[in-house]
Amino acid sequence: MGRSIGREVYTLEKNYLCEILENQRIAHNVHRIKIKKPSKDFKIQAGQFINIKCGEGDFPLLRRPISIGLTDEESMIVYVSKIGKGTKLLCDKSKGEFIDILGPLGNTFNVDIEEGKVLIVGGGIGVAPLLELTRVLSQKDDVEMKLILGYRDEPFIVEEFKNYVDNVIVVSEKEGFDHKGYVIAPFEKELRENSYDEVFSCGPEPMLKKIKEISEENNTTVQLLLEERMACGIGACLVCTCKTKRGEDDWNYVRICKEGPVFYGKEVIFDE
């Protein structure tokens, strides 16, 4: 892998070479990549991400942050949408190849909920981190879940979600699914008609902004997983910030890779 000397001598706590166990194309430009965990005690939780070196050598230069999609004892699955150089290289990797990752990085969804009703809303590749969340919440007997998953066209990983929860509304801009259009309309309807204790969401920023507004109008707590272009992913360079409230009428830029990527809706300020 063209690694520099000395690398093997040290045990690195959060830098690993991981084997790819499977790589499958599951929808147009979306891959499901199963990665072997570096060790049994490697613990990564819903909401966290890994920062992946997608190519060999210095191209592309920066790592690419990818959320954890699903985990079990031995492996972790990521869902990757091919949008550019890095994600393309990643999707082109085959079984048996190794990838250099940093992780686990970032905070986690707060799943400290023992009972109540939870509404989970995802848009596009933003559904990926919600799968591990759904798996974890499905283990809690008194938590009732409903999901709204939105896609531009062809839905993906819906069956995986259905392994953990029956109540899934599939939304697409294309004809032929539960709802045609965007997730916002069914979300608003759901929140108005049934009361929920907590909303979890991940997706494009305009969608998250709406989800936050509607949740607040309905007095429902919402956790949002935010994305921003990153470089280090470990909190060192300050390129990945978002605006959050500080005190009554002040705000601050905080690092999405370190203080986030999960924030409560009430903390975040979205610009116009």
Binding site: R7, Y10, L12, L61, C237, L238, V239
Partner: protein, 307 residues
């Protein structure tokens, strides 16, 4: 095999080895403790400090470009006083030199920050003169030798600390800037800061960075950085900390050959948080293989074949 002495004396600032980490790419050190023993570094240049807190620029602040990256963080930092109270004690637990990167909008501001830091146990001050000078209409201090002289001299009169002047590469003649800094009393020079650049999204027809322009760093700037280190080495007698695109020990050796007495790693930390250690080990082995006993031995040894 002869024992190699990797320590360097930068005109009063003694580093146990010539590896430092560049300002803005290493936070205040905390972020790296999962990856690297901070005791193994020669020095840490902390994130650029200003008198008051600075919130920084809007997103996006980063764009990847061929073999490099553009950043426009906009000096986001909690202010020098917060740094002293909340971050210095943490950094001071380690056996490495702490170098404060200072940034002002006016000469008075630079002096005030220097005053404040001089009362602490910080090991050195690095004057970042790439900031725009508010009083003189936003032109960077670092572009004009007279301004460089004035700001360096003023800070020199305000502090007994070891003083590094960090040069901006966005100038026509780096030599005259370096000479001005030396004449004004700088103990050491570090270079280069980022090169101003731009990236455009052709579909949206907007610049990738919210602020339009940003600072280019990484392997793309290494040839420029090396040339500047070489030029400056030939006109000043104070030591040089070379930086710009160092990604492995071979890059670092090039900087020593060009005249650097120590090096700094920036963008490399963002990709491989352990890079500093790997570079250090590589340098040791290279010097051994080449029969050098110290950095002093290899410094500036590059020959230009037909000159």
């Amino acid at each position: 095999m002869n024992k190699i002495d990797l320590s360097v004396d930068l005109n009063g600032l003694k580093l146990k080895n010539p590896i430092t980490v560049a300002s803005g790419t290493f936070g205040f050190g905390r972020e790296f403790i999962d990856y690297i023993d901070l005791n193994s570094l020669g020095g840490i240049m902390v994130k650029g400090l200003t008198l008051e807190e600075r919130k920084g620029n809007p997103m996006p602040r980063v764009a990847e470009t061929p073999m490099g990256m553009l950043n426009s963080v906009g000096l986001q930092n909690p202010g020098v006083k917060y740094f002293i109270k909340e971050e210095m004690p943490f950094l001071k637990q380690y056996d490495t030199k702490i170098i404060g990167n200072i940034n002002g909008n006016t000469i008075e501001e630079y002096c005030e920050i220097a005053d404040i830091l001089s009362k602490t146990s910080i090991d050195s001050l690095e004057l970042n003169i790439s900031c725009p000078n508010v009083k003189e209409g936003g032109v960077s201090f670092g572009r004009d030798p007279d301004m460089v002289y004035k700001v360096t001299k003023a800070v020199r009169e305000h502090t007994d600390k070891h003083l590094i002047v960090k040069l901006s590469p966005n100038v026509t003649d780096i030599k005259e800037i370096a000479m001005a800094a030396e004449k004004a009393g700088a103990d050491c020079i570090s270079l280069i800061n980022t090169l101003i650049g731009m990236a455009i999204d052709i579909n949206k027809e907007v610049t990738v960075l919210a602020r339009g322009m940003g600072g280019l760093s990484g392997p793309a700037i290494k040839p420029v950085a090396l040339r500047m280190v070489y030029e400056v080495f030939n006109v000043v007698s104070i030591p040089i900390i070379g930086m710009g695109g160092i990604m492995n020990y071979e890059d670092a050796i090039e900087f020593f050959l060009a005249g650097a007495h120590a090096i700094s790693i920036g963008t490399g930390n963002l990709i491989n948080p352990r890079i500093a250690i790997e570079v250090l080990e590589g340098i040791g082995q290279h010097l051994a293989e080449k029969g050098y006993r110290s950095i002093e031995g290899i410094k500036g040894k590059v020959k230009v074949p037909s000159k």
